[in-house]
Symmetry: C2
């Protein structure tokens, strides 16, 4: 059974303001819900349309009707599962060898893909500017495919963060050196900019090394998608 106040709470968690107020976020879909339950992230409450069919050891599952689920779901076609989890508290210190810094990435699908890429390439920490889309946004979570449980995502004023680091700071710029010819160190910071505006002036001045991903042929396309560029750069740092 789900009471009215709970439905109201779950629905409110579609908004960042209420996620931060309550320290909770929502995950939908059986596979991802299970992955989050089996991670270090703590479960608040799990709801299912057919709770008797769920066999998760030591996890109590509460009943929710299809009608109630469609009221609170962010999906067009809700699929029977909705889990409410506590937003994890992160260690202040960042220990990843390479750190990815996002300077205002706006598109939830891009952020989700980038989190998944960091998981693949063993980059355990992402530092996001305060303007970057919230990682507990439902569309981000859909795109991460569970990688959110294995990557730490810190929201900070990135100029202050970059001001204190002793690591080399890499960013991509039109006039940068080809990443193919650059020998990248074992530790460093890689900055990715906003979809339309790239890396901001405020952040660009902290870059110690300017890189570029070379185009091929006589293409006139303006830029790579930020998630595509991240894929190539993370592949290069692990070369």
């Amino acid at each position: 059974m789900v009471v009215k106040s709970e439905l109201k709470l779950i629905k409110s968690l579609q908004h960042k303001k209420y996620r931060n107020e309550h320290g909770l976020f929502v995950v939908e879909g059986k596979k991802v819900v299970e992955e989050v339950i089996n991670s270090k992230i703590k479960l608040h409450k799990l709801f299912a349309v057919a709770p008797e069919k769920i066999q998760l050891e030591g996890v109590q599952t509460f009943s929710i009707s299809n009608k109630e689920l469609s009221q609170v779901s962010s999906l067009k076609s809700p699929n029977g599962f909705i889990g409410v989890f506590y937003i994890p508290k992160l260690e202040e210190e960042i220990v990843s060898d390479w750190i990815l810094v996002l300077d205002g990435v706006q598109d939830p699908g891009n952020l989700g893909t980038i989190i998944r890429l960091c998981d693949w390439f063993g980059v355990t920490d992402i530092v996001c500017s305060l303007e970057t889309v919230d990682c507990y946004n439902s569309k981000v979570l859909q795109a991460t495919m569970g990688s959110i449980t294995r990557v730490n995502i810190h929201y900070r004023a990135i100029d202050s963060f970059l001001n204190t680091t002793k690591l080399p700071v890499f960013g991509t710029f039109v006039d940068g050196a080809s990443v193919k010819d650059s020998k990248l160190p074992k530790k460093g910071i890689m900055i990715m900019g906003n979809e339309g505006k790239g890396i901001s002036d405020l952040v660009a001045k902290f870059c110690t090394d300017k890189l570029a991903i070379p185009q091929f042929g006589n293409s006139t396309t303006e830029s790579l998608n930020v998630a595509s560029a991240t894929a190539i750069l993370l592949h290069e740092i692990r070369r």
Copy 2:
């Protein structure tokens, strides 16, 4: 002025069936519409909410009201421009040095990103299986950012296509050789599989070379997004 039958036609073009029947497709948004008008793709008819503000040499622009536009637009917030274009006829022969083959890519955003990547890396021809999402789907067009005008996209039975080629055929597989250690030739075919199922058995048997994108660390993530994997592989073929 836009007549009722035209509105009906434009709306119908949201469906692949009617796009193929009429040989027409729809592009929205000023920047992309202009890019398509200035390409080899032929304009059928251009509509704008404020046609008097448009200054495109030799292009007649027809008036459409905001209400009419919202009836036929595929966007939540239509932005004043809608162009109807002829689907281009492609040369039978494919002359690109590298050819990308898509074996059932389903997500429109992924296909759009892949087309944009091909444009960046000078891969001028994509061969899509008949199960691959249609490239004139509005969500694909939104993601291509105009690259659709510079990349030829062929829909074919890809087993027949692969059966006739003399080029080496590369595909990514869990047990493939690391792409970092592989020396790729100047010409070839790269196959990318479906988001969930990867490369189908029917197509896998045509692969002469099996590649893998190496993971890093002890990550347990299952796979890279197909567009992310394409970014890395196209970067590698142009190394």
